[in-house]
Symmetry: D5
Subunit: 124 residues, 10 copies
C-alpha cells in the first residue's frame, strides 16, 4: 500500500549539506479512514528531521498525505508507515514524526516515532 | 477488585514491534467515587507507553475505565492499580500514567506513576 | 511557631510503597500576613513528593495551611518552614515546594525549596 | 554610574542558609531611557538566585530599579550592570537575570546573564 | 547575493566580553518572495547568540532583513544564509536562528540552524 | 422521573429580595448516561437567575445533579427538565441554563434554555 | 446534488416544543473538495437553531456532512446548501450556520447564513 | 455588622464631576469565612461605577475589604452589603459589583448586583 | 493610484442572492510602506460584507493586496481606499474593513471603516 | 499643567472626512508618577475616535504621553485631562479613552471616559 504512495514524494538537494540543522513541517489537515468503522479520522502530523543529501519537497508531501484521505489506516500503523516512506526517500540523519489525532469516544491519541531510534530520555 | 476490571481490557499485536515508539492516550473523562465521602471525583488520565508485543485496544480501555464510575477509589491507589492492570495486559517496555484530578476543597492533586521505574531526573 | 501547626497534619500509609511515584498537590488559596506591614499576602503552593511509608492527608493539609491565615510570615521563611513540617511528618524520599506569591508593589516572588537537595540542573 | 545606585540596595540574612533553594523575583515595570534616541525603553526583569548569607530586600530592589527610570542604558549593558550590583551586594551561590524588553521597530530583545557562569546546556 | 546584504550589518563592541551571556532577538516581520511561485512568504526569525567581541546592531539588522523583502529565497536556504552572514560579521561563540514561516497550502515550516554545531539533544 | 430528584433540592430565603441581582452557578462536573448507547455523557451546566423569594442551596444542587450520574438523559431533554425543577422550587423572576457537553463523534452540543422566555436578540 | 444528501438526515420530535430554546452543534471536522483546484478544504461548522416540531439527529448529521468529503463545493455555496437542507428537514423557528474555513494562500474565510433572515445588528 | 466596616471607607472629590465616566476597580484578593462551615472563601470583586460628587479612595477600600477576612459571610449577602456600603459613602449615579468566587465542591458562583437597578438586557 | 490596483480584482456571481448572509475574509499578511519613513508596515485586514449580485474572488483579492507591498500608504488612508475599491467592484449591501496594524514606537493602530455607514452603536 | 503638554500634539487633515470611521490607538507604555507616594504608575491607554476634520499624529502623541513620565497624576484625573487635550486639538465627532493601570496593593483600576457623552448602555 504505502509503496505506491511513496512514489508521489519528491526531493530536492539539501542546500547546506555540510551543516546539521532541523527542518520541522507541521501538517494540521491529515485525514484518513478508520479500517474498523469506516469513519474518517483527523490529525496533525509534525515531521522534524536533519537532512543528509535530500530534503522532501513540500508540495509533493501534501499530495502524498492526501492519498490517505480515503484509505483505511490505524493510528499506530499509519504513523510508522509514513516514517518508513519519508526515511526511504530522504535517507535523513534523524527524523521524528508526531501524529496527534482528534478525540474519538472522549479519548485522544498521539503517536511519536523516530528514526533511527527513539530518544527515550527526551520524552519529558 | 482490579482483577475483575482487567478482564475487560483487550490488546492487539504491535504493528511495528521492531521500532521503539511512544503511544500517548489522553482520557479526560475519568470519574470514580471517593470511598470516604461517597462523592464523585473527576480527572484526566494520560497514559504513555512503549509497546512490546501488545498494544491496548482503545474501545476496551474506555469500557475498562468506565468500570470505576461507581467504584470507591483513592487518588494515589487507583492510579497505581490502573498502571498494574495495563502493565499486566500489555507487558510494555515502559509505561507512565499521569492522573490529574479536579479541585476538592480548593486543592487539586496529580499522581504520576511509571513502569518499570520513575525517571526522577525528568520531573522538571 | 511552626511546631504547633505541624500537629494538625495527618498521614496515611503509602498504598504502593514498593514503587517510586510522584504526588503533586496544588493549593492556590494560601494566605498569610506580612510581619512588617500587617497586610495579607496571597500565594499558590505546589507540593510534589515521592512518598516513603507515609502520605500526608489532604484535609489535614488544608487545615494546616489555614493556620497561616492570621500568622506573620516572610515569603522565604514560610516556604522553608512548611517544607520542614511536611518532611518531618512524612519522611519522604524527595519533596519540593514551589510557593508563587501575587505581586506587591509591581513585583512578584516565587520560592522553590527541595528536600534533600536542590536539583540545580533542573531549574531551566 | 551603577555604583551609586547599588547603595540603595539592602539585604537581610538568609533565614535558611543551610539549604540551597531558589528565589525568583519578577519585575514587569522596569523602564530606562535609550542613550541614542532619548526614548524610554520598557522591560520585564526576572531575577533568580540561590542565596548564600544574604537575600536582597524587595522594597530596596524596587527603589534601586527606579533609579534607571531617567537613566540612559543599552539593553545588553544594563542587564549585566544590574547583575554585577546584585552579586556584589548578596554574594549568591548562583544568580540569573533575564531582561525581556518590549518591541522597538518590530524587533524585541531578551538578554540572559548568569553568575558565576552561563549554563549553556539549559538554554532550550 | 547574500554578500552584498551583509555589508548593511553593523556591529558594536560587546560591553561585557568577559562574561558569556545570551542575547535573543525576535523579528516577527520577516518577509521574502518564493522563487518558484513569486508569492510573498512571511515568517518570524528568532536569533540567539553568545557574543565574542562583537554584537550586531539592531537597526542595521532591521535594514539587512528588509533587503529580503523583494528577494527570492527558499526557507531552508535563506535561514542558513542569514546565519552565515551574522556569524561572519560577529564571530560569536554560539549562534542559533529559528525561522518559523506562516502556513502555505495548510502546511507550515520551521527551520533551526546553529553555529558551530547543532545541539541535537536539546531539540525536545 | 425528574419529580423525585426535585425533592432533593433545598432553598433559602433571598437575603435581598428588594433588589434584582444575578446569581450565576457553574457546575463543570455534570455527567449522565446516553439512553441510546448506555455510554456516559459529560457537560458543564451554567445556571444564572434573578431570585424572587427563594435561592437554591448549593449543596443540595450538587446532590440533585449527582442523581443524573446513572440516569439515561438526552441533551435537549435533560436541560429542559433541570430548568423545570429549578423554576418550580425557586419561582425565579428569570432563569437561564446553558448546558455545554463534551464532543461525541467529533461533534459537540450546547443547549440554552430560559424561563420565562428566550431573549432571542441576546444570542450573539 | 444536495437533495440526495438530505435523505441521510433524520429528525426526532422536539421534547419541549412549548418552550423556545437554543441548540448549538459544533462540527470541527467538516471537509470538502475545492471544485477549482481539486484540493481538500477544511472547516468548522457551528449550527444553532430554535426547533419547532423537529430536531435533527446528531449521528445522521455526521453522516450527512461526511457526504461532502469527496464532493466539490465553494465556501459560500456549500454553507447555504447545508442551511437549505437542515431547514427543509426540521422547519425550525430560526437557524444559523457559521462555517469557518482554514487558511488558503494566507487568507481564511468565514460564512454566516441565517433562516429566516440575517440579524444584521448582532454581527458585532 | 456592615455599618462599622463602612466607617473605614474614605472618599475624595470627583475631579471631573461634569462628565459621566466609568471607574472600574478589580480586587482579586477578597477573602471571607463561610458562616456554615467556618472554611475560608476566596473571590475577585469587580466594582464599576459612575461617580457623582465622590469617588472612594483605593487604600481605604483595601482596608475595608480586609475587614471581611475573618468575618462570616454568604456569597449573595456579602455582595449586596458591600454595594450598600459603597453606595451610601459615594452616592454614585450608577454602580455595579461582580463577585466571582473560587469553586467549592466542584461548583463556582458569581453574584452581580447593581445600583440603582439591574440592567437585565446587558447580561449577555 | 488605487484605480489601477482595482483592475486586478475579479468577482463571481453571488450563488444565493436572495438571502442576506455574511462573508468574512481575514488577510493577516498585508504589508505596505510608510510614505514618511520608507519603512514597511504590517497588518491584518478583516473584510466582512453582505453581497448583492457579486462576490469578490479570493485569489484576485490576494493579488490586489500584494500590490501595496512596495507602495506608500498611511494607515487611515489605505483602509478607506481598499474599502472604496471593494465597494466599487462588488456593490455590496454592506461592507466593513478592520485593519489592525502591528506596533510602531510602542503604539499600535486599528482602523474600522464601513459602507454605507458606520454602525456607531456596535463599537462595544 | 496639561495646557503646556497639549502644545506638543500635532494633527493632520482627515484624509476621508466624508465617511465616519473609527481609529483606535493602543499605547501600552504609559507611565506617570503617583502624586501621593511618588511611586511610578504604569498603564495602557486605548484611544478610539471618529475624526472630524483632524486626526492626531502618532509620533506627537507618543511625545505628548511621555511628558507624563515624571509628572504627578491621579488615575481618574489624568485620563480626563488627556481626553480634554485630544478633544481640543482634534475636535472629533466622538472619542473614548480607556486607561487600564497595573495593580497596586493587589487592586487594579481602569478608567473609561468619552466625549461628548458616555454611552452607558454599551458598558457590557
Amino acid at each position: 500500500m504505502s509503496d505506491s504512495f511513496k512514489e508521489i514524494l519528491e526531493t530536492f538537494p539539501n542546500p547546506h549539506p555540510n551543516r546539521d540543522y532541523l527542518i520541522e513541517t507541521v501538517c494540521p489537515e491529515f485525514t484518513s479512514v478508520c479500517p474498523k468503522t469506516g469513519q474518517p479520522d483527523f490529525g496533525t502530523l509534525t515531521i522534524t528531521y536533519i537532512a543528509n543529501e535530500h530534503c522532501f519537497e513540500l508540495k509533493s508531501l501534501k499530495l502524498y498525505l492526501q492519498e490517505y484521505r480515503n484509505h483505511g489506516a490505524f493510528y499506530e500503523d499509519v504513523t510508522n508507515l509514513i516514517l518508513n516512506d519519508l526515511v526511504k526517500i530522504t535517507q535523513p540523519k534523524w527524523m521524528q514524526i508526531i501524529a496527534d489525532f482528534t478525540p474519538r469516544g472522549g479519548i485522544r491519541t498521539k503517536v511519536t516515532v523516530e528514526y533511527p531510534s527513539l530518544a527515550i530520555h527526551s520524552q519529558g
